[in-house]
Symmetry: C2
Subunit: 221 residues, 2 copies
Amino acid sequence: MSDDWIFRFQGLSRLPDRIKGILATRSQVIRMRKGTVIFGPGNSPENLLFLLDGTVRVQQLAENGREIVLYRVQAGESCVMTTACLLAYEDYSAEGVAETDITAAAIPRTVFDDLISQSKEFRTFVFSAYSRRITDLFHVIEDIAFQRMDIRLAQKLLALGQGGVVKATHQQLAAELGTAREVISRQLSEFQRRDWIKQSRGTIEVLDAGSIARLAGTEAA
Amino acid sequence: MSDDWIFRFQGLSRLPDRIKGILATRSQVIRMRKGTVIFGPGNSPENLLFLLDGTVRVQQLAENGREIVLYRVQAGESCVMTTACLLAYEDYSAEGVAETDITAAAIPRTVFDDLISQSKEFRTFVFSAYSRRITDLFHVIEDIAFQRMDIRLAQKLLALGQGGVVKATHQQLAAELGTAREVISRQLSEFQRRDWIKQSRGTIEVLDAGSIARLAGTEAA
DNA sequence: CTGCTTTGGTGACATGGTCACTGAAGACGC
DNA sequence: GCGTCTTCAGTGACCATGTCACCAAAGCAG
C-alpha cells in the first residue's frame, strides 16, 4: 500500500523519515461504507484509526430515541481520542458513524505508543486532537445549556447551507441540536413565515442569509 | 522539597526511579487558597499542575450570569488536560477554581514532554486522565440534553449529601446543574412538600433518602 | 393507480427559564 | 438589644422548550 497518505496529514508532513516509515509500514489502510458504525456501545475497534478521507460523526443516543451530535472527525484528523477514550473506560452510549464513505489508516496500539514516545511532532499532533475535542465538547455544553434554540438552529443552517441549500430532514436537524423534531418544525415554520427560508421535503432553501446570520449573532464576522 | 507526593499519586507509584527523580527534582510544590482562579479566560498558567491535595472545580460561565460545573479535579488526578487544552486553543470561557485550599506540583512543559516520551506508565496516566475528562463531559451533555431536572437535582442531593445534610444555597445548586435558581427553588419546594427534605437557609436536610434515590433512578444500586 | 413509508404540521399540555418583585434570615455596627 | 444591610429564598406571570397524539402530504414500490 502506498504511503502517500502520510503527506496529506496536516501536522504530520514534517515528521522525521524514521517516524513516517513506522507509520507507513505498520499501518493498514482500510475503507468503510457510509453509515458504518465505527465504534459504539460494547464495540471499540482494536486499532486506532487515522481518518484519511471522509467524515465521522460522533453522537450520543438517549433511551427515549433522542440523540445529539457531539462532534465530527474530519479527514486529516485523528480518531485516536475516541477509541482511546472508549478503551480506557467502560463502554458508553456514544457512537461513531461514517457520514460518508471513508478511508482510514489502522494503527496497532503498540505502534501508537512507540510513535508517542519517539516523536515530539506526533505528540503535538495527538494532544492537539484531544484539545480540539475537549473544546468542541465545551462548545456543545455551552450551546445546549445556555443558548436559545432559534439561534442554534440559525447557526446550524448557516453551517450546513452549501450554496444556499440545506439538505436535511427536520429529524436530522433535531439530532444535530439534541432536541425534538417538533421543535425544529416550529422554528422552521417561523423562519419561513418571515421569508428567511423556503422549505420542501428534505431540503431547506436559504433565502435571506443576512437575517439568519443576524439572529445567529454571526453578523459582525 | 520532599518528593513524598510522588508516592501518593495513583498510577505513578510504580514509575521507574529515573522518572520519579525527574518529577521530584524538576517540579515545584505550590499552594493556593480556596477560591483562587487557577486558569480562566485569558489566563493559562505556564506550568502544568498535578493536584496533590484539595479539589478544583472547572466551570463554564455564560454572559447572562448563569454557569455550569463541567467536572472536578480531585487530589491524585492531573490537571494536565485543562491547561494543555487551553494552551492549544484560544482562550475560552471555562475556568478552574480551587474549591478548597490546594497543594499542587507545577511541572514545566518541557519536563512533561520528556516524561511522556520516556515513560509508558506516565503516558498511561496522562491518557487515562484525558479519557476520564471526556467521559465526564459526555455525561454532562447527556444530563443537560436528556434528563429531567427533578431527577438531576435528586442525584445531586445524594452526591452532595454527607450525613444527610447538604450545605449549599439554591444558587450554588443551580450552578452545579446549569439552570436558574428559581428552578431549583421550585423543585426543592416540591421535595419538601413531599417530606423528602427539610430546608433552612443554606442547608438542606435529607429526610427520605430512599424516595430521593428512587426518583434519581439509583435505587437498584 | 394503490397502498406504504417517510416526512412534516398541529394543538394541548407539561416542564423549564426569565423577569420582577417580595419577604425572611443572618451579619454587622452601634 | 436594635436597626440596617446583604444574602437567600419564595412567588406569579409569562415565554420557550419538550412531549404526546394524531393527521396530512410527498414520495416510493408494487
